[in-house]
């Protein structure tokens, strides 16, 4: 018996629902942050709300993902390794970027908490790229995860 194997599918569903929240909030966050580049600072409170929601959603997604990883490693990934190794390659990048993304998310949160975009514009030189990178990481994870689940979602 592998750790949390019996709860794999329900936890995968929670993982998915939290991902909906995460991707929705971060994509909306990106749209507002792009506005900062054009000098539009009218929705800072809403943007800060998206940052807080995104952080908690990411932590939930991350923790659940880490908990169900052993079952995935034993029950699903061996088939990928043997039959379609490129799928494992896609998955591994997702995991590496996800780990770095966790650090970036906390930095993103504390950075946003410490400054006001309209009064300290030079700090956008880190804040805006972080927003873009986090969205790249998230969308890569979503697309790859959905595709891999289509190939083999459970056992």
């Amino acid at each position: 018996m592998v750790f949390l194997e019996d709860f794999y599918e329900i936890m995968l569903l929670i993982h998915l629902f939290a991902t909906f929240v995460l991707v929705g909030s971060m994509t909306h966050n990106l749209l507002i942050v792009v506005g900062y580049l054009r000098g539009k600072f009218g929705r800072q409170k809403l943007e800060w709300l998206y940052v807080r929601v995104s952080l908690w959603a990411y932590v939930i997604v991350y923790v659940i993902g880490a908990l169900i990883y052993p079952a995935f490693r034993v029950r699903i990934r061996p088939d990928f390794d043997q039959d379609i190794p490129w799928a494992t390659g896609l998955f591994e990048v997702k995991e590496h970027w996800g780990a770095v993304g966790l650090a970036l998310f906390f930095v993103y949160y504390f950075l946003r908490k410490s400054f006001q975009p309209n009064s300290e514009k030079e700090k956008l030189f880190l804040y805006v790229p972080l927003c873009f990178l986090l969205n790249i990481i998230l969308w890569y994870k979503v697309i790859v995860s959905c595709y891999l689940t289509l190939l083999k979602g459970s056992w």
């Binding site: 896609l90 030189f125 990481i137």
Partner: protein, 125 residues
């Protein structure tokens, strides 16, 4: 030094160092604890033919190492910026921009390397 400047500097360093240390586990094949889900145990060795997970060890190493570097920087930061008896000094706009760009470039390079490493390893390229 203002709190927002300290957060900016430490945040830049921590994010860049996390990416670098994570890549170091790939570059130098650093031996880290691996979880063996079928045996419910942790081992330092990578046993061939037995499912194991090195991802937990890789991220723990990168977070702890980057955290240690950031911790050291946090304590030497006031000394670095204290000049001529002044203990408070703000980060100049140009320094802020350069730090942000450098941190971003490092993260992007490390992410690209992770992609290359795995795509090459699993025959996608």
């Amino acid at each position: 030094m203002e709190k927002s400047d300290t957060t900016y500097i430490i945040g830049s360093i921590f994010s860049a160092m996390t990416a670098i240390f994570y890549c170091c586990t790939m570059w130098f094949h650093i031996k880290l604890p691996r979880y063996y889900p079928l045996q419910h145990s942790w081992k330092w060795v990578n046993e061939k033919g037995v499912p194991s997970q090195g991802w937990y060890g890789m991220q723990a190493f990168s977070f702890l190492a980057a955290g240690a570097v950031s911790f050291v920087v946090y304590f030497i930061l006031p000394r670095l910026f204290a000049t001529g008896g002044a203990t408070e000094k703000t980060l100049k706009p140009a320094q802020t921009k350069i730090l942000g760009v450098v941190a971003t470039v490092i993260i992007v390079i490390c992410m690209a390397y992770m992609l290359y490493y795995e795509f090459d390893k699993w025959g996608i390229f």
